[in-house]
Symmetry: C2
Subunit: 165 residues, 2 copies
DNA sequence: CACGTTACGTAATGTCATAACGTCACCCTC
DNA sequence: GAGGGTGACGTTATGACATTACGTAACGTG
């Protein structure tokens, strides 16, 4: 629960971000911050916190695991995390992994590049959980005649180079 | 409920298949029958009935909708339909549409071809719900170095030629 | 200051999928 | 023909994932 007297969560001043291991997380979050600022999107503390958790995890995370991770800092119900995930995926800062019902941070530097417009190609290691990502700008060569693609889901499962030995 | 005195459902003689509209359904089901016979798989009445429903639908169907469709012919609980779907997808006779949490019959003639080993590429029309299918036998050209793919999920959403006008 | 917009809190519900256990028929073997 | 393994399904309950609906607070605008 938010202590009484505090402003509501959305207006609470952003705390200093506490990054556990990866220093790259800081870079990614800073890039996301710039990315949103440039486009008039508001990376609120809640959204930033969820993105931070995704980046720290370094792989697909379930929504309810995010929920648990958010609990210590205050109450959190499912809509809270799903709203944050909706924002992040719409903005291209995160992707849903459809076959796992999970979510993962976009691995692109969002400084120079366009946001991922729903066409990320994911390579997911089933041994270590690591995710690699490519951005498709190509249409499949063998699409049915006249089919107009608006969104693609492409996920490859297997073993990454490290785990395949 | 099964009338007492009847043999249990799995041993009940297969009823004549009642196909609503498409005569192609009969062909597909017969092909599936042959496909299973050749490989020592048992297309039981329950599994055949679920496949029949998928073929008749001609597009993605939710598991609980299948469940409702099965009710008239007897009791049906979730595990019943999920077990049938598990068999059908393992055999390559049906595919899960991951981004819709739905299932669709494989469109391949299973007479001449190999089963779909988890590498079907689906083109799903968001207007009419029609599904087209290609079978990928190619690896993506831009996979990470050393990544060994065991299974791919590829789903394209958009407008089919008819709906795109 | 009334008003529309955005973001989040909160409670309840809806949707998708599986665990766990029991029964029955079939098949094999002794 | 008793015993035992296997496969398929029935049944109950629960777990896992996601959304609806409504309320409140902050902010910008005229
Ligand atoms: Zn991306
Ligand atoms: Zn790995
Ligand atoms: Zn197929
Ligand atoms: Zn269409």
């Amino acid at each position: 629960m938010i202590p009484s007297g505090w402003p509501p969560y959305s207006r609470r001043p952003a705390k200093a971000v506490r990054v556990k291991a990866m220093t790259s997380a800081i870079q990614t979050l800073d890039a996301a911050e710039r990315f949103c600022t440039e486009r008039g999107l508001s990376l609120t503390p809640m959204r930033r916190r969820v993105l931070e958790l995704l980046v720290e995890a370094g792989g697909p995370v379930k929504a309810y695991d995010l929920l648990s991770a958010l609990k210590p800092g205050g109450a959190a119900q499912p809509p809270t995390v799903y709203r944050a995930l909706d924002f992040l995926t719409r903005a291209g800062l995160a992707h849903k992994v459809e076959a796992l019902n999970a979510y993962t941070a976009c691995l692109n530097g969002h400084d120079e590049e366009d946001p991922c417009t729903g066409s990320a190609e994911l390579f997911i290691c089933e041994s270590c959980g690591n995710v690699d990502e490519r951005h498709m700008h190509r249409a499949p060569s063998d699409a049915p005649d006249g089919f107009v693609i608006s969104r693609s889901v492409v996920e490859h499962y297997g073993q990454c180079a490290r785990c395949a030995n």
